[in-house]
Amino acid sequence: MLPQVYFLMVAAGLFCIGLIGALTRKNTLLVLMSVDLMLNAVILNFAAFSTTFKMADAALRGQIFAVFVMVIAAAEVGVGLAIILLLFSKKQTIEIGKFSSLKG
């Protein structure tokens, strides 16, 4: 039987990897994917916390919250990809450094 802590460590490591990706990648699509990795780490975290309980409804709350996190992530990726397509049609590039027309 594996302790719960190992899964939480993996989720924390995945979160930090997604954070590095969101801060350093220059392609907007890869930034979106890194944010998606962070949300995935949160889902793993909720699943790990939910299955160490012995009573049924306490164990299920984590899983239901993980379901809602997944729904939010899917909606966010859908709208984010539409925005990326619009940005590409305007500027012919999706590099993050080029979208600086609001820079004062």
Partner: protein, 169 residues
Amino acid sequence: MSWESFLFVVLSALILFGGVRFLLSKETIHAVLYFFMILLSTAGLIIMLNAYYIAAMQILLYAGAITILVLFVVMLTSGKAPEIPKGSLDAVLSVIFSFILFLTIALNIGSFKADKTISDSAEFINLAHIGRLLFSDYVWAFEIASVLLLVAIIGAVYLVSKLAGKEEN
């Protein structure tokens, strides 16, 4: 080493290896493929936690729908992924701060008792129970999530319809 520990080590190594290769990849398609690998390995870890419904939804939604959408956008935009300049201030600072965050989380989690193991809870967590809870206790959140998905669909279709309208003109 027991069967479970070996499987856990393999899946965690796949996640970490895929994460590092995702960060260091030079081509966008390679990054998408490593992303896919991370998603499948995470689904494997969630199956080990006896959360079968979340693992199935992860494979359907994340590794299925989101990866395909991202691949479509990669095909349509066809941008390269410029590699991260190794010595720039952005990369070094972000790695340092992420490592500090990881140490903060890990040192606080490390004090959890190691005997809190994954219980064999497969006998009472099943899809019928989750469905019953979603429709009784969490029905507000369920309906609001449905409305949010509807708004996201309408928004995405409207945004892309402006693209199609522009091309016709």
